[in-house]
Amino acid sequence: MSEFVQECLREWRRLGVPDAVANEMAADLSADLDEAEAEGGSPEDVLGNSAFDPRRFAAAWAVARGVTGPPAPDPAPAWRSVVAIGLSVALALLAVVALLALSVRSGSQAVSVAVHRFAVGPGPIRMFSPGQVQMPPFVKTQFASANVQPIALAILVIAVIGLGLLAVLFWSPRLGRRRNRRDRGPRSPSWS
């Protein structure tokens, strides 16, 4: 069996063509290609331009016969969702931190307090239990020496833009429809 026919078989399996039908089509195609070769011809004599694109040819044939099954599950969407959720959470956290920094008084001490409160301080939202982590003194010192409001504003803008891009790229219904069309596979040849 030629590499062309094997590639066709792989494509038919991917498209959910039943094994019996796929094997029958492969046998017919192999016999025709062997006959053409025995007569001194080439695969192009049998297949025309399709001899250079086995996957497209196989898909067109299977679709024309109406033997394609439901599309095989694509692992990519689940992978994309995990990445999208992870990025969304990270950007949302960044936005929250930036908002905290902006909402308090400008100045280092307030920011330091805000960060400290978020990390270990009292209240319903904190990363560590009280007393578990002590903020090192140099952190306060560093915050104290800089006005972080412009940085916080920049981070907030970046986070919001990032969330917007994620919403468009991953959750847009229009793009979802396009992905679904792509997953459904090729259409019938234009002349059929």
Binding site: D28, A31, E35, G48, S50, W61, P189
Partner: protein
């Protein structure tokens, strides 16, 4: 197919012999597949000349009716086009 049952490559050769090299458009297999799906051809397996069993295609009753209707439609279209081109030729040639 009106000349008798034929398998895929055999039909390609028949068409090529009559000046219809449709294989360049994407091969005859999808076309035969669509005809089979629509019930316009019937198939059977038979041994070829010393080779493996082949799938032979022939016209079904519905395919024969579709062929006749298509031929009539083609003739009407061809006559209409010939009529128009004849008028053009009359006007162009003194």
């Amino acid at each position: 197919m009106g000349d008798g049952p034929a398998y895929g490559y055999e039909m390609t050769k028949r068409l090529g012999g009559r000046g219809l090299s449709i294989v360049g458009e994407g091969s005859i297999y999808p076309l035969l597949g669509r005809l089979e799906r629509d019930g316009l051809v019937q198939t059977h397996r038979a041994a070829s000349n010393g080779g493996p069993p082949r799938k032979y295609y022939s016209l079904s009753a519905a395919g024969q009716m579709a062929l006749e209707a298509g031929v009539k439609e083609w003739q009407v279209t061809r006559d209409a086009v010939d009529g128009v081109l004849g008028l053009v030729a009359t006007e162009v040639v003194p």
